[in-house]
Symmetry: C2
Subunit: 281 residues, 2 copies
């Protein structure tokens, strides 16, 4: 295995590319894996996507995303369960065991964060057995607290692990995305805990760039262009025993306006400099 | 005592007013207290400010701010200590026992968050005895994690309490500002802990408005205009035994562009509706 053997392109990083273009780009660059998004898979067709990936010889490191589990009321719950069951089936068909869940924010006009978090726990319990039947883990992604109200009420890795705790690690796991968790004073202890509990489904790297972008969702940057210490975080992940893929997922207007091959070349170079040296214990 | 007996105007909320104008505005509205900023005090003069407040019959609920303790190197440390000692003397002169510390972000080009946090602990230890001699508590303010890199490496109430733990509560305490902590899944347990340890120096209320403002520091809103459940947070504070002032501190271009008397009237109305009913256990 060459030195890129664990590097995965999350296709949100090359957002303007179709699935087919992203697969071709990953293959051209010698990458072994991609992280997928459901909208790009739907455009290509599920069976066609699975075939495309198989023929290209690429692993699928994760499927983004299920979630949005905070709705109250029978109709909202039913919609959430149906959509997440569909995501689980898609993940299974695509050959990945990780479906990433961004669990949703407060329903419109609602301020009851504790209630929303309880509903997330209930929906995870609803979905976990279905996931396991399909050989897929629900990968809970804590999002940066600035997205707590409108995007994901899971705000820390410790909270994600508490939500996972009632379920076996083969059913419910977590995502560690540097952008979302780097600030957390309890990060080291919770990455170690996630490793002990065998719950690290995905390690995603991208930087936190300042100032925060006008569209706060796009405040991400290429590794090295922001404030995150990738050496420190990657050593925690390695010490926790994680041996899976390292996904690069960057939402950034600048990066989206850069040709995909160039983005991948930069990503490979930064990975080699900032992440890879710290990835093996 | 009337029903505004615990309501304090932090003068950053009426930013365009001089200290004298803010004092007059608070008195006109029947408020018993103000939270001060050092720049407005310096404009007026320290002794003059203290006399002005005494004559107006206003309590000073806190002085903002000291901090910026993360510098490395002898000169940086010396500058930080001198400035914070000055803030402590000013607080003492103004008759408040709380000097709010915003501890600072990463030094330029530095990514070692753990190191910066260690230096904060060291500077607190340097300053705590001096504060006590002057009858002032260092009030550590955890800031929202979106400001971790550039403004304050204290990101959670639990972390602030851990930093306070080596020192008596008469020397080091914490600020609970709803804007900064509402998202925290461990909030209830840490407010209770802060109460048990007698470390709540200040309860500040302001809302978290979406979308995040282009200048992220100005993303605050009047209580009721954002996503925060003031009933829930205020009940936690009351249950923790806090009997001090409730400061309203809002950084917002819209509010700063509104006449100060009108801002105070809205603040009083929202306080009566959203905070006061939950303030006594």
């Amino acid at each position: 295995m060459n030195d890129l053997g664990r590097l995965s392109l999350n296709i949100a990083t090359t957002k303007r590319w179709t699935l087919r273009e992203a697969v071709d780009g990953a293959v051209r660059a010698g990458l072994p894996a991609v992280g997928l998004w459901r909208d790009r898979v739907a455009e290509e067709g599920l069976a066609e996507s699975a075939a495309l990936l198989r023929e290209a010889g690429l692993r699928v490191s994760s499927l983004c995303r299920g979630g949005f589990l905070t709705a109250a009321g029978e109709a909202g719950v039913r919609t959430a369960l149906e959509d997440n069951c569909a995501a689980i089936v898609e993940a299974s068909t695509l050959g990945t065991d990780a479906v990433v869940l961004v669990v949703g924010g407060l329903p419109e006009g609602d301020r009851d964060l504790a209630g929303a978090r309880e509903r997330v726990a209930e929906r995870i319990a609803d979905l976990a057995p279905f996931a396991r039947e399909h050989g897929v883990r629900l990968a809970l992604e804590p999002l940066h607290p600035m997205y707590c109200a409108d995007r994901a009420v899971i705000s820390t890795l410790g909270q994600a692990l508490d939500l996972a705790a009632p379920h076996p690690p083969a059913e419910v796991a977590v995502v560690v995305d540097t952008f979302h968790v780097f600030w957390d004073p309890a990060l080291a202890e919770n990455i170690a805990r996630a490793g002990r509990e065998d719950r690290i489904a995905s390690y995603q790297v991208c930087d936190f760039a300042l100032p925060i972008a006008q569209d706060a969702l796009l405040s991400r940057g290429m590794m090295g262009d922001g404030v995150i210490d990738f050496a420190a975080t990657t050593r925690m992940i390695a010490a926790a025993g994680y041996t899976g893929d390292v996904e690069v997922e960057i939402f950034s207007a600048d990066i989206w306006n850069t040709p995909g091959d160039q983005v991948i070349a930069t990503m490979i170079s930064r990975y080699r400099d900032l992440v890879l040296p710290h990835l093996t214990g």
